[in-house]
C-alpha cells in the first residue's frame, strides 16, 4: 500500500489532507461525521489576542459554485481558546494548528507567544490574508514589507512550525511568498479567499453587511491552482495548497502543481465526510498508478 505520510519541515502528517481555517470549527463540530484522528491535520478558526464579535449578519452569500463570507474573525480570543477550547480538543491525535490573526504586529506576537506554550499545538498558521477585518489582516499580507515584518516578528517568538497563509489579493504572490520564506516561515499555505461582492437587485443593496467579502469554493480553484504552481516554483519551503478542493481529483491537481499537502474548506459544508473520501481517493490513485509514495506526486506536473 502506498505511503501517505508527508513532512512539512519538522511536522509529520499521517496524510496530506488538512482542513482549512474557519470551515472546520475546532474539529469537534465534525466528530460525528469523521474520525478527526485520521486527518493529516486541522487548522482551527482564526484566533486573535482579544475576543471578537465579528461582523454583523448577513455574513454569507451563495454564489455560482461558491460562497462569499464576511465572518470577520469572530472568536473568543487567545485566552478563551486556551481556557475553554484547548482542553476539549488537545487529545485529538492529529496536528492541530491555530490560525493566528491580529490588527498590529504586537497582537500577532503576543498571541503566538501564548500558543507557543501549548504542548498539543505543533504549529500555527499565520493569517496575514483575512479580507474581512477593517485593519490588519489582509493589509499585512498584501504588501511585501509588512508581510515580512509580521513573519519576522512572530518567528522570533514562535519556536514550532510556522506556516504563513498568503493572500491571493495581490499582484505577484511569489514576491510575498519569497519574502516570508526569507523571514523564516517553515511552510506557506495558499490561498485565502478572493475579495468579492454580491448585490441583491430587488433591494439594490449589497448582500453582505460589509459590502465585500471573501470568495471560496470550487469557483476559485483555477486561480488557486495557478498560484500554488507559481509559488511552488518560487520557494524551497513546503507549500500547502487550497482553494475549492471538493474531490480527490482536485486534491491531486494541487499536489501535481507543487503542493506537499492540501486543505479542504468550503466543501466540508456540503459533504462533511469529504476529507475521508479524499484521503481514501489519494490512496486508490497511488495504487492505480502504481506509485508507492504520495510525495512522488508533489510537483510531478508534466509540462511538455
Amino acid at each position: 500500500m502506498g505511503n501517505l505520510k508527508v513532512q512539512l519541515g519538522e511536522l509529520t502528517l499521517s496524510n496530506p489532507v488538512m482542513t482549512a481555517s474557519g470551515t472546520f470549527g475546532y474539529g469537534e463540530e465534525y466528530a460525528d461525521f469523521v474520525d478527526i484522528n485520521t486527518l493529516g491535520g486541522i487548522v482551527v478558526k482564526g484566533t486573535t489576542l482579544h475576543a471578537r464579535e465579528g461582523n454583523a449578519y448577513p455574513r454569507m452569500a451563495e454564489t455560482a459554485k461558491g460562497m462569499l463570507n464576511a465572518v470577520g474573525l469572530q472568536n473568543k480570543g487567545v485566552d478563551g481558546f486556551i481556557n475553554e477550547i484547548y482542553p476539549r480538543i488537545k487529545n485529538f491525535k492529529t496536528n492541530i494548528l491555530v490560525n493566528v490573526s491580529g490588527s498590529t504586529v504586537e497582537e500577532y506576537i503576543e498571541t503566538a507567544e501564548k500558543i507557543n506554550e501549548l504542548d498539543a499545538i505543533p504549529g500555527i498558521e499565520l493569517n496575514i490574508s483575512c479580507p474581512n477585518v477593517k485593519e490588519g489582516g489582509m493589509a499585512f499580507g498584501t504588501s511585501c514589507p509588512s508581510a515580512i515584518a509580521v513573519a519576522n516578528a512572530v518567528r522570533r517568538v514562535y519556536k514550532k512550525h510556522l506556516m504563513v497563509k498568503l493572500s491571493p489579493n495581490v499582484t505577484d504572490i511569489t514576491e510575498i511568498a519569497k519574502g516570508v520564506e526569507g523571514a523564516g516561515a517553515d511552510s506557506v499555505s495558499l490561498i485565502n479567499t478572493l475579495l468579492g461582492m454580491a448585490i441583491d437587485v430587488n433591494s439594490r443593496k449589497p448582500v453582505l453587511s460589509t459590502i465585500t467579502g471573501g470568495l471560496s469554493g470550487p469557483c476559485i480553484k483555477p486561480v488557486a491552482l495557478r498560484m500554488v504552481w507559481q509559488v511552488a516554483q518560487a520557494v524551497n519551503v513546503p507549500v500547502v495548497g487550497m482553494g475549492g478542493i471538493a474531490s480527490t481529483e482536485d486534491a491531486i491537481e494541487f499536489l501535481l502543481a507543487g503542493a506537499s499537502a492540501i486543505q479542504i474548506g468550503t466543501a466540508n459544508f456540503i459533504d462533511p465526510t469529504i476529507t475521508i473520501k479524499v484521503i481514501n481517493g489519494i490512496r486508490e490513485y497511488l495504487e492505480i498508478n502504481q506509485m508507492d509514495d504520495v510525495k512522488q506526486l508533489t510537483g510531478a506536473l508534466i509540462t511538455r
Partner: protein, 257 residues
C-alpha cells in the same frame, strides 16, 4: 448525535401551487429528534444551489421510520426538491440545532405563518404525546396559502387568519380575537414564520408575562456550527442560529421590537 444519511422519497404530495410535502423513508431505526430541529438537505442536480438547504423537521413517525418535510418553492433549490419522485434518494445532515423546550404549564399557543408552520406539526404532536392539547393560530395571505389544516386539526384547536379575509379572521395573526382577550388563554407562545410576525408576538408576550419561543431562519452555510455565518445578536453576543437556535426565547434575542 448528528447523522448524514440517504433517505428514500416515499411520496411527494402537492398541497398548493407553492407547497409540497415530502415523506422520506429512513433506512433503519430513526434517531430521536426534537421539534424545532432541522435538516440540511443536499440539492442534487441544481445548477445554482451549491450549499445545502435548511428545512425543518415537519413531522416524524418513529413507528415506520419516516419523516416529513414541508417545502415552499421560493428559488431554484426548493424548486428542484419539489420535483422529487417516489424512489428518489435525498441526502440529509440531521437532526440539527436546538429545538423548542416543553412548557411549565399546559396552556400553549403555536403560531405559524408561511413555511413557518412546518415545525409546528411535529411540535403539536409532541405536546399531544405529553398530554398537552395545543391551540394553533395559523396565518396566510389567502385561503389558498393555508396548508395541511386538517393535520393540525387532528391535534388541537386551529384558529386561522388571512390577509384578504378569504378564510378565518381577516388580518394578521395578532388581530385574531384570541389575542384580544383581557386574560389570554395561554401562558406560552411557540412561533415560526416571518420575522415581522414573530416580533409582534414577542412584544405581545413580553407585555403580558407570557413566554415566547421563536424560530429563526437565518441564511446558513454549514448548519452545524463550523462556519459562523448564521449568527444573530443576543444578550450574550453573537450566537449561531444553527446550533444555539434556530429556536430562541425571544427575551434572549437583541430584537428591536
Amino acid at each position: 448525535m448528528k447523522h448524514i444519511t440517504d433517505f428514500t422519497v416515499v411520496t411527494n404530495q402537492r398541497e398548493t401551487d407553492e407547497f409540497v410535502v415530502l415523506t422520506l423513508q429512513h433506512p433503519g431505526e430513526l434517531p430521536s429528534m426534537v421539534p424545532g430541529q432541522f435538516a440540511e438537505v443536499r440539492v442534487d442536480g441544481a445548477e445554482n444551489a451549491f450549499l445545502r438547504r435548511p428545512l425543518s423537521i415537519h413531522d416524524v413517525d418513529y413507528s415506520n421510520n419516516t419523516i416529513k418535510l414541508l417545502i415552499q418553492e421560493v428559488g431554484e433549490g426548493t424548486r428542484v426538491l419539489a420535483k422529487l419522485k417516489s424512489g428518489d434518494q435525498l441526502n440529509l445532515v440531521y437532526p440539527l440545532g436546538t429545538g423548542y423546550t416543553l412548557p411549565k404549564s399546559n396552556r400553549v399557543l403555536l403560531v405559524g405563518g408561511g413555511c413557518g408552520v412546518a415545525p409546528l406539526l411535529f411540535l403539536g404532536r409532541h405536546f399531544v404525546e405529553n398530554g398537552i392539547r395545543p391551540k394553533f393560530l395559523i396565518g396566510g395571505r389567502t385561503a389558498a396559502t393555508l396548508i395541511r389544516l386538517d393535520a393540525y386539526e387532528q391535534l388541537g384547536d386551529v384558529y386561522v387568519t388571512t390577509e384578504d379575509g378569504s378564510a378565518g379572521h381577516k388580518g394578521f395573526v395578532i388581530h385574531h380575537p384570541i389575542m384580544k382577550t383581557e386574560t389570554p388563554e395561554f401562558d406560552h407562545i411557540y412561533t415560526c414564520g416571518p420575522d415581522a410576525m414573530m416580533k409582534v408576538l414577542a412584544k405581545y408576550a413580553g407585555s403580558r408575562g407570557i413566554t415566547c419561543q421563536v424560530s429563526l431562519e437565518n441564511h446558513m452555510a454549514c448548519g452545524f456550527g463550523a462556519c459562523l455565518c448564521c449568527v444573530t445578536p443576543t444578550v450574550d453576543g453573537h450566537k449561531c442560529t444553527c446550533v444555539d437556535g434556530p429556536v430562541f426565547d425571544s427575551k434572549y434575542l437583541k430584537w428591536e421590537i
